[in-house]
Amino acid sequence: MTASATRPAGSVHGWVAHLRAGGTTPWLAWTGPDDTDATTRRALPGAQQLELLRRINLARESSARPGGDHDRERSRLADRVLAAPAAGRGKADLPLVGAAPTGFGAQPVDPATVSAHELLRVASTLLADDLVALGADPVRRGVPRPWRRRFRLVGDPLVVASAREHLLGRGRPEGGPRAFVVAVGGPLDDLLAHTWTQRCFEHGSRPWGDWLRFWRERDQLPARVDLDDSVRRWGGRRPLVRVVTDLDQLPAHLGVRRLPEVRVPGADQAELARRISAVVGIRVPVAERPALMRTLQRRMPDSGVAPVVVPAAEHAWVASSAARMTRRLTRAGYPVVGDLADLAPRAAADRPGPSGPAGVDGRQVLDLAIRMIVDPGWRTSRERSVER
């Protein structure tokens, strides 16, 4: 069939029923009959929902997970996909090319050509709803040990969030009087990438490229990356401050033998989390979002994609910012564990990873999203923990 040929309205409903039953035939190759009852027809979803469902069916076919509740589970998922809105202010639901044209509304499209970005708008809604339905994993709190060294962790958000959670589980919540302010540093480009990544798993963020540009054009550093400012914000005084750039020595300065290994989410994981976070923000009260997103961070399956890295074009700004921060920390005279020279960014060539302006490959993000929709293991398994 050619894209321009017009088909009867019932043909679209027949294709929807085909997809709902697990079919994978592309719209332009669809020649099946209209086998639905015209009186029970519901509003037609857009090309985004229909194509996502077709891709999900393809993924289910290849994953081949038969089971007693397979059909019921498939229908339930299909209905959810077809009803899911494409989140955000992008295109509204797109009509199918060849379906009876109304003469108004968006241009009809071949669903097979709908971009990964558009499909992700629907997929992120589904995953956000899954996450909300799952609820937040309980936070482990050990028996309080107030006599132990008190600490306030600032700096690298990925390391800090992981350590904070571990210490809380050992009865050592952050803060308290005369707490040691421990500022966790590292190459500034890593700190920036980690900060954006962690933001995606908290309240969400702008896309990686836009976020970096925001700070570069302001010639400022995000609050959590600016170690000197973070220490001052917590009222750190010299004897009670440690700037740690040698992470091997961090456990000793927090009064523990070891800390869990820090898992740096890949660019696809962070981008998907960013999109999910935006939808979660409209599904649950704002105070509940961080716990849900932390749950997602712990449970999101690995994909092997490298984390985002700062693109070479931003390197000069990152280097000058690192030098400025190093000067300020040196002048402040805080005890340093490691070497402040370690704050300098590593050469861009040293690290593989998505560093372009967008920083993230939409197809990889979509692959991960479909994998998470098809395989509910991340929701049904017990939370994972990674120990060094």
Partner: protein, 397 residues
């Protein structure tokens, strides 16, 4: 009494802010007459629309959790007429429309769409984009919306909320045409009260003792003022986050400062764009006339005014930009001074709170323990002792 819902779904830039403000402020009077406008805050129906359509909106959406379901529940429980009104409902997809109508229960639903001619809507929508952080030039905006692919975010949004036949098809296809009410905006120069009379008639408000004072409107800007704002956006959109942009740029600059330039040239369409808009409007009018909706006003209102003198906002000179730019600087300095005063007051309150805390901690036992610790922290040997003590306690613990 029969249950009715008047569902006003658009369009933007058709006097909706004024209508919603009147409805919001007159809720008690309306209730006395069995009319419900369920809103605990002015933007309650905006939040409901964000929730219904899963629309993140610069962080505001976090206040919209569950807003549509709450609104629909109130409407279902009301015995008389309910009014729901927000212009961004116009963008809802067929699936969202289906969900919205289903959640209103068995009430008799009437759809209301207030509409204005494209000749005035196109410039107004560009201004609205500029007031929402965009720095797209007017020429590019026109190219974007005239592109039949509607592939851009601006193009797809513009038509989703302004293409009248499509909006009515999405929202009204399940309703009989006599329950679809098209309120046209009177042409320029018409009596200022005429639009309200049309709204009043449509919503059944005639004869009610309503306070019609205009407290909240969405004022338009002149050509140089819009051009200035667009130029400012070029500099600041990437570095000012939406929660800061809203109070500083849109409110302080656009609404409270630049909109005062009432003597400035108003924005219109070039002759070529005017002819295009007119042609499109004529086709829409023919389609709408065939559908048999209840028209409050006249479909001819949708033709729009004749082409006037066109002031190009992309060609405003530096001399023309200077007066509004100075106004903008003054307004921001005054706002900066106000925020400094707020900051100073907060610092004072924080100081007092810390002093209170210190006083509360000033017990004899606390002072004694603190003195020991402070003394030990003051010397390397002391810190070492403390550290050893803590490690010892830690191993035992």
């Amino acid at each position: 009494m029969s249950r009715r819902v008047l569902l006003h779904v658009g369009c933007p830039k058709t006097g909706t802010s004024y209508l919603q403000d009147v409805l919001f402020r007159n809720q008690p009077v309306l209730r006395e007459h069995d009319i419900l406008y369920p809103a605990d805050r002015f933007d309650a129906h905006f939040l409901a629309a964000l929730d219904l359509m899963t629309l993140p909106w610069g962080g505001i959406e976090t206040e919209a959790v569950g807003a549509w379901d709450r609104l629909a529940a109130e409407v279902r429980e009301w015995h008389g007429t309910s009014i729901i009104s927000h212009e961004i409902f116009a963008r809802a997809t067929p699936t969202q429309v289906e969900r919205a109508l289903a959640s209103l229960g068995d009430a008799e639903v009437h759809l209301v769409l207030s509409v204005r001619d494209l000749v005035r809507q196109v410039p107004a929508e560009w201004q609205e984009n500029v007031k929402h952080r965009s720095h797209i030039t007017y020429a590019k905006f026109l190219r974007t919306i005239r592109d039949p692919d509607r592939d851009s975010r601006i193009g797809s949004w513009f038509w989703a909320v302004q293409e009248i036949p499509d909006i009515l098809e999405r929202w009204g296809s399940s309703l009989p045409p006599e329950r679809v009410h098209l309120v046209t905006l009177p042409p320029p120069g018409a009596d200022r009260g005429e639009l309200w009379r049309r709204f009043s008639r449509t919503f059944g408000l005639d004869g009610l003792p309503l306070d019609l004072t205009a407290e909240r409107e969405n004022p338009s800007l002149g050509v140089p003022e819009t051009s200035l704002l667009r130029t400012i956006n070029e500099r600041v959109t990437s570095i000012i986050a939406p929660p800061d942009y809203r109070p500083l740029v849109r409110e302080t600059l656009a609404h409270q400062t630049l909109s005062r330039g009432v003597s400035s040239a108003r924005l219109g369409l070039s002759p070529e764009d005017h002819a295009w808009a007119r042609g499109l409007s004529e086709r829409w009018i023919a389609v709408l006339a065939e559908r048999g909706y209840d028209v409050v006003g006249s479909l001819d209102d949708l033709l729009g005014p004749d082409a006037g003198t066109f002031a190009n906002p992309d060609a405003v000179t530096a001399d023309e930009l200077l007066p509004p730019a100075l106004d903008a600087i003054s307004a921001l300095l005054v706002e900066g001074a106000r925020l400094r005063a707020v900051e100073e007051r907060l610092h004072g309150e924080l100081r007092e709170a810390r002093e209170d805390l210190e006083r509360a901690r000033a017990t004899t036992a606390y002072r004694a323990r603190r003195k020991v610790v402070t003394t030990l922290e003051g010397s390397p040997a002391g810190r070492g002792s403390l550290d050893a003590y803590r490690r010892l306690r830690g191993r035992k613990g």
